[in-house]
Symmetry: D3
């Protein structure tokens, strides 16, 4: 049965150099609008749910364009506030082979989202409407204003019996030199409020300061994740492990820890067209499985296939429908469909 | 010595989303005009022959654009009639890796070609002018009107001592639920009229209802194709076997049965840029070999190389000249030509 | 106070050659999705209302793309059904100066909309939800199936006390040789159900067979429109008169007849970027004025300004917000806004 | 009744900066292939005749592209020779308003056409096949090799009773400092061979050294053109007069002198999209009128309308069909055609 | 004799929607880099001088792209510092006819230029190298840090006997509600340091609080400008008056006050392709005239023609060379140059 | 410490068909300007040196565009002369898989560079300013005029104690049938003047007529290169060996012979985006290492990494900065940088 999911997060304008040129070579950009919240809400809408975004956009042509784009993605707009003056942006230059892709951020600290005043969001209305509320560690890195919105909304949601989802998504560059020590208390707050958490063994070690003697990632996950779940009272913890192969294909394996048991997905290997946003597809897949009451085994493989497909479409935002993910779970690569 | 080949078939407008976007992401399309007949006539023109197309286009800007495009491809226009109102279309979204390409057809049932009246074509003039007349199973799936044109033209050509070529090209989606049982009598009619036929072991099994206990495709071909040739009195039967490899390259091997003997081409493996129309390049290669009196071994390898090259150019229609195919038959992949 | 408007009509795919090339010169198309209903619903959404579209789209990538585009335009999707196989299309080649623009239609008779079965729409749900229901004469030209949907929905809406809007939009090419005589009874049915009607003096003369000795369009309007209103019991009749000037600018004047009185807008002259859809902007402006209870004088000038602005944006669908129309009503052409 | 026209001339590659950028601002070019001969042959093909081009193209990818483009334009290829190494090119930067358009030539002196050896063309075959042979003063400026081809072909055509057409098309930059004195003997040779000549009063004065006291162009034409016709024994002389108006529209009036009588076309004023090649459309219009036996009055107005329409399409080559020119002769500028 | 001009100012990234789409309709942007300083330095480089830019760019791909673009424009880079993290940006949507163009700024307050530390620029080295130093009122609106750089550099330049140029360029939106009262003291400081000033009658009235009873702009200029020159000890004051005509062409007239005498340029009327940056072309023209010792009459007409041409090229930055401006001063609009 | 390098060579206009179309399929080209000298000067500028180009460009819009492009690339323009009429050009069609890329040259023999008169370059000024002067065997193939410039400049540079670099770059097509015998004396002259030479075993065998019985390229290099160094008195000889692998990746290994010792770089394997210009990146890397006094081992690996990265960017000209090359030398292929 379809559920209602509200994702809290900033909308970023993505400005991508077409093809494989660098900014100093080209003169055109292709733009779209995304963000973890956008991606998760849109992906869940394609899986048949209602995907709300809780955010704030400026009242100008950029805000208008962002809102139109969100609607096109299938994101439900009633909790999108308007106000402030700016929208966060990032520039993407595609790498090729030995030359890595590059992301350059514009100043997002004065964006409409990051300057949203105290009364910007109606926490209770959101908590009433949504079955699930989704948060992301990128948002947690912004400033106290935003963190207050985030923790308050999570608390109100929890108090209303809603499922709280938190994706750690730790980005070193956003936390500066103080890094993990600055981040840890905020992450702890969110982990304590969360029912479903996305993290991996590195988050446990670096963010939460846990220790392990094991070397293999699966061993580390197996040791650390149950400890995190126990400590913070989390029902479900899921994550992925990515390998970049010599031939530039990627391999991805997902895991999910629930009811004191691990399931691991098949390891999928695939060519990559657009790397960004694949983690959000995985997260949406896990949330979908949980909402639909699928078995952990089906859920984790569904999520991994959703993540794989997200690497094959342009833009940050996953575009695969539920039947398309299901087919990718089961079928060999096929010839043209006609 | 160059020959004159007339191909009977519909011109389709191909509307392709550039790059790897889906229709719901993009806002531009690149268009061209193709069809089995177009592809075969154009390919044979590049091999030095005269390639006529026998078809019908509307008297409107779309028909004008299609005709200009056919001329550009080197197709000779005297047997292109004008009339009716519509042109068939299909939309192509390129897949990437784990995401398959998708073809979506517009309504072609009321196209100028599929509504051509009884007196639309001058069968005798065509049979007088052309040394070879080519037909395709896609056309056979349209409607009774078109099937009558097709069988009549084939009969008149045969009566005039022309070589009749028939490519089975069975497309399940065009025949609906009744499928093979609906198609079989029409295919039988065409096979009986044909001198050169393109088919493979699956056609023999599903279309013609033949049976085999063998499992390997080469074994199946070796058992079934001679039986077909015998039953329908066909001089030459040729076909290909395609494998899609893990790394998304394709492997292709061609065969040709003539004078009770099989020849198989080398198995070619290659990267694929544009999949559609490669079968028509193979067919044109076989017809070229037969017209030029090449040995079966040369013919089947020429055709396989032509098919391989057709995977490397944009659009449905093969673009390689005879010297280019000959070079691809013999040389290693080379560095840039300058 | 914002209202809810439901527009009933077909979604067409518009495929436009970029710049001033003809189809036989170019190889790319820009596509979008529009239609009278789309344009009116979207325009009213930009004026602050909720704009529903009542239509039917295929369950394939084209239908998906159309639906995403409608959402982007701000059209509310709950009454968009899915089913059938095709979408209507038209190709647009921009003219330049002495060379007129050309529109070429693909076959729309088998579109999802034009083959919608009896139970395709929930008339009662629509009539419950919408304050206003909008219909268009283009739809009336399709076939009996569609006409039945149209008249039934109009009747149910009227029975529920909703405002019924009908835009005559007579297109000769759609009615064939029988033309006006074929159309008249259907138009009469709709006029009798309508509260607000869009028509002009030519519709009165040709469609309804009325007669006048006057020669000037304003004189003809002044004589004929009150007679139409009386005969069919219509509250509001509005329309426009267009002149194409020597320098290729257009001049437009709107009129509105209500409570036995005429108001005419100022005559506006302006350069034209995209001609298609301007009439729908005018209609949306009149409906907006009526819904908001504006005076006829303000309403008719608002509608004319909305129509003028619709000539300045790419695509069929008006994009101007209410404040933008208000500013265009009052201000001189301004220098760049920064 | 359709005739066969052979035009002798060089194919140039046109490389145009899109929009209004200059070469130092942009990084893309749009290319096509044209030339006076190309334009005249193509225009006459659109009027229903067969248009041959007599030229020479290199055996390389540029020659291949040129030939495909000629076919697309409807030019008949049997007299297009292959050989040599280069193709002439010119770069076009569109001006805007006060900034004029700029044309920059690449080196054409070593093009395949301008280095065609003595036996490159089969003069007799051309003269046998074509009813009319067309030449242009641009070709006359190239070198002695080309001039010999040109005069020989004209002589052979005349000797075979074919109609010889010569368009003066004097381009100062091609003749260098010696200019008119260098050009005059060659022009005289061609004028003596020609039946139909395109020139204006400036050609008579500067090229042929004639004198007049009159100041108005119509007066000058009226005095000088009959003298030219008498001196060189020319049946038909036609030309145009162009004015560039303040608002950047152009005005064009055509004249035709035949049987000792002048006819002048209506003066047409129109917006200009692509200026190049309009004179060739005029020439094709006059040739068409003469071939079809139209009255001079109809012919000159047909030619002027063809020239006007040629200003409205992209590229050097006229694209209007005979019905399109006829409609432009008689109708007001119309609203969109649908 | 060529001079060396250093312009102090911020580099902005301009992101323009191609054609006439709005941000909510399109998905591509064309980008370039500009700013008053960039435009003036580049324009003077095209007039044969050395044009330095004094600015600061981030050490990231955007800064790299900006620097490459400046070099392409002919701006000399030795005084371009690197540091900080961001670059200012603005989005441009082209209007059409009745729909005005729109500029939307991103947050520039934290740009590399606007956060340049105290030791960012070597004032003495700049004053040693440059004959002329140019400043702009837009820069003056930024913050105290930037204003200190600006006034210090102007003082050092003046102390070294260099010519100080100041363009008032008052932009209301940058000064907020306090507006003129906030700006006046800073403008006064700069006016006192300047030798050549660009301003008009509105600046005198609003910025400097001067009063006049006259109504016509030329009368106001004639009364107020001499008073400004007197009060602030300015050698040359120049400016322009712009009118937007009904047909969307612009008319521009320049003035220059020097040695207690006014000269006015001819009033030029022209079509507009890209409005932004035309004022900078005018300023560069005046500076060029003064540096070259031209008479005021020639100078002001040269500057006005340079401004006119700047409206005809894409991008903010003037592209016309000295000979191109000279030709535009004297010649009628010409046919294509070839 | 940064050095000053002057590269002598022709600027070519590169006109590339976008994507994988052939010239006969497409209608747009992307253009840039390059050449061995351009590539080497630009690459060394990105490594922190000053890169002059010694060349000659026409005084027309193409020359203007080339100069702007050189500036954008970071090439220092003081030794770029202006004069002559043409610029050399080449067309590039990208191959795909089994279909090789194709380069088609326009006529470069009359280019501004190849017709530069005796006094075109100030040899002494160049030799005074530059620490290093770079020459290329492509230039040597042009004509006697150019060869005289080349050898004179090399002699003057050597006489002034500058480092002379010579890249053999033998292109068979430029030397015609006489080939190696025609080229050898000119190559010998340059080798005798050179301090640093780029060549490989094939050059030693074919160009210099040396013999070896060994079969492996490393063995051949080890035998022949020391002999060349001895005979011609060359300090440093470097080169590369390229293998094209089955999966279309390339493998590259560099060598450097100095002080009687060989060093070989690691063999690098990588995907190729743009093959042209990679050799120039290698040369620039070696020159950089020598100028900076790096050990041969570091130098040859730096050069090989620079060459590898040059295969990953669009255009002929290397774009990698020194830190980017250093990182590519040491790190594994990384995930997206953000």
């Amino acid at each position: 049965m379809p559920k209602k999911i509200a994702a809290f997060g900033e909308v970023m304008m993505r400005l991508q150099v077409p093809g494989y040129d660098m900014l100093s070579q080209a003169d055109t950009l292709r733009y779209s609008f995304s963000g973890t919240g956008v991606n998760v809400a849109s992906a869940l809408a394609r899986f048949g749910h209602t995907g709300y975004l809780v955010t704030r956009l400026p009242e100008n042509p950029l805000g208008e364009a962002a809102l139109a784009y969100l609607r096109k993605l299938g994101v439900a707009p009633p909790f999108v506030g308007r106000g402030g003056r700016y929208i966060g942006m990032y520039f993407l230059e595609n790498g090729f082979g030995a030359r890595p892709s590059r992301v350059t951020y514009s100043n997002r600290s004065e964006s409409s989202f990051n300057t949203a005043p105290q009364d910007a969001y109606d926490y209770n209305a959101i908590a009433r409407e949504a079955d699930v509320v989704h948060f992301c560690g990128i948002t947690l890195a912004m400033n106290d204003l935003v963190r207050t919105h985030m923790k308050t909304l999570a608390s109100v949601a929890k108090a209303n019996g809603r499922t709280v989802v938190f994706d750690c998504n730790y980005r070193p560059v956003l936390w500066g030199d103080a890094g993990y020590s600055l981040a840890k208390p905020h992450y702890s707050d969110m982990l304590r409020l969360a029912d479903i958490v996305f993290m991996n063994e590195k988050d446990a070690i670096h963010l939460l300061g846990m220790k392990t003697d094991r070397e293999n990632w699966r061993d580390q996950v197996s040791e650390l994740i149950p400890a995190v779940a126990r400590e913070y009272g989390i029902s479900v913890i899921a994550g992925t492990h990515r390998t970049i192969n010599e031939d530039l294909t990627h391999s991805l394996q997902g895991f999910m820890y629930k009811d004191k048991a691990f399931v691991f997905s098949r390891e999928l290997s695939f060519a990559v067209y657009d790397r960004i946003g694949a983690g959000d597809a995985y997260a949406a897949g896990i949330v979908h499985g949980e909402m639909e009451g699928l078995t952990p085994d089906v859920t984790v493989n569904f999520a991994a296939s959703a993540a794989m497909l997200a690497h094959t479409v342009a833009g940050d935002t996953p575009m695969a429908s539920e039947p398309e993910v299901l087919r990718a779970m089961t079928e060999a690569i096929s010839d043209i469909e006609r």
